[in-house]
Amino acid sequence: MSILDWIYLAIVSIGAILAVFRMFKGPDVTDRVVGLDVLTTITVALFVFFAMVFDRYIYIDVALVYGLLAFVGVLVIARFIERGF
């Protein structure tokens, strides 16, 4: 990993931490889910980034699977929030 990669990682990680902060702080369930959603997107990006860093093409598939499942997850949660569980 080059220094450039490290810096990239640092910036994105701070973003991730902020998202986690929102996840824990709330105050509404929806806030937490939004935090989670942001975290998910960041994670997808990171997966692809790590694929590059470790030179493993196949990690991209992992990113895609993850992104897809997270997407469906958010929809499900949104639906349940609407119903009031």
Binding site: I58, L64, V65, L75, A78, R79, E82
Partner: protein, 237 residues
């Protein structure tokens, strides 16, 4: 409060003991005997470039058969718990119609999800994905459909047929190995092919496809049951 403290101490004790145990087996050290064997011989013996797949489907394929069975058992259990006689089912009145964006978006993305899930389990022997991942992706597609159209239900009979057939394929492929001179369950009797080719690794992709279908059917079943519980709750005892 005392309870919390006491159990915290207990758990700390457990963690400490675990630390002590693992301190004796240093982190990040070299691989173990059997694992090393797989890395050195896996490609030659199974034809799968993804050694994890060769472990999951071939060397430890019997574990995977169990795993499939566990999932099957869970799906059946959920089906039992959420079972509602057809005549007892009643629509819930206060279901709000889903968001238009979700509705149409889900509908459009559904075919792609199916395709993508299939892609994942067909490439299971080449990439980190596999039958489980592919299957769950397909099931998530069904989940989306439920979100978009709360009234629809997947045909349970079709799901049963698919999961049954997929399971049968797995076991029968395994049993075929017993009829060969090697007389070994799950013996990889097909040609191994060229490394990294789609058609390689003998029976591994076939099994993974079967698993993919099975997992998809089972998760879809679970989703269907849960949705039915949410939407057409009924049959209370």
């Amino acid at each position: 409060m005392i309870r919390k403290i006491v159990y915290s101490i207990f758990l700390a004790t457990i963690v400490l003991a675990l630390v002590m145990f693992f301190a004796a087996y240093p982190f990040g050290k070299n691989k173990m005997t059997v694992g090393e064997y797989y890395l050195n011989n896996g490609v030659a013996q199974t034809g799968a470039s993804n050694i994890v797949t060769s472990v999951v489907v071939d060397y430890r394929g019997f574990d995977t058969l169990g795993e499939v069975s566990v999932l099957f058992g869970a799906a059946a259990g959920v089906a039992i718990l959420f079972f509602v006689l057809a005549e007892n089912r009643r629509e819930r009145k206060n279901i709000t119609s889903p968001n238009f964006v979700v509705k149409v978006g889900s509908r459009i993305i559904f075919p792609f999800i199916l395709l993508f899930g299939t892609y994942i389990f067909i490439h299971g022997h080449l990439t980190p994905g596999g039958g489980f991942q592919g299957g769950s992706i397909i099931a998530s597609g069904f989940l989306l459909l439920y979100l978009a159209y709360p009234g629809t239900r997947v045909s349970r009979k079709k799901l049963s047929a698919v999961e049954g057939l997929a399971g049968l394929t797995f076991v029968l492929l395994g049993l075929y190995g017993l009829m060969l001179p090697e007389s070994s369950f799950l013996f990889n009797f097909l040609p191994k092919g060229q490394l990294n080719a789609l058609l390689s690794a003998g029976i591994l992709p076939i099994i993974y496809i079967a698993i993919g279908f099975k997992v998809a059917a089972e998760f879809a079943g679970i989703v269907d049951d849960m949705m039915c519980e949410v939407i057409c709750r009924g049959g209370e005892k």
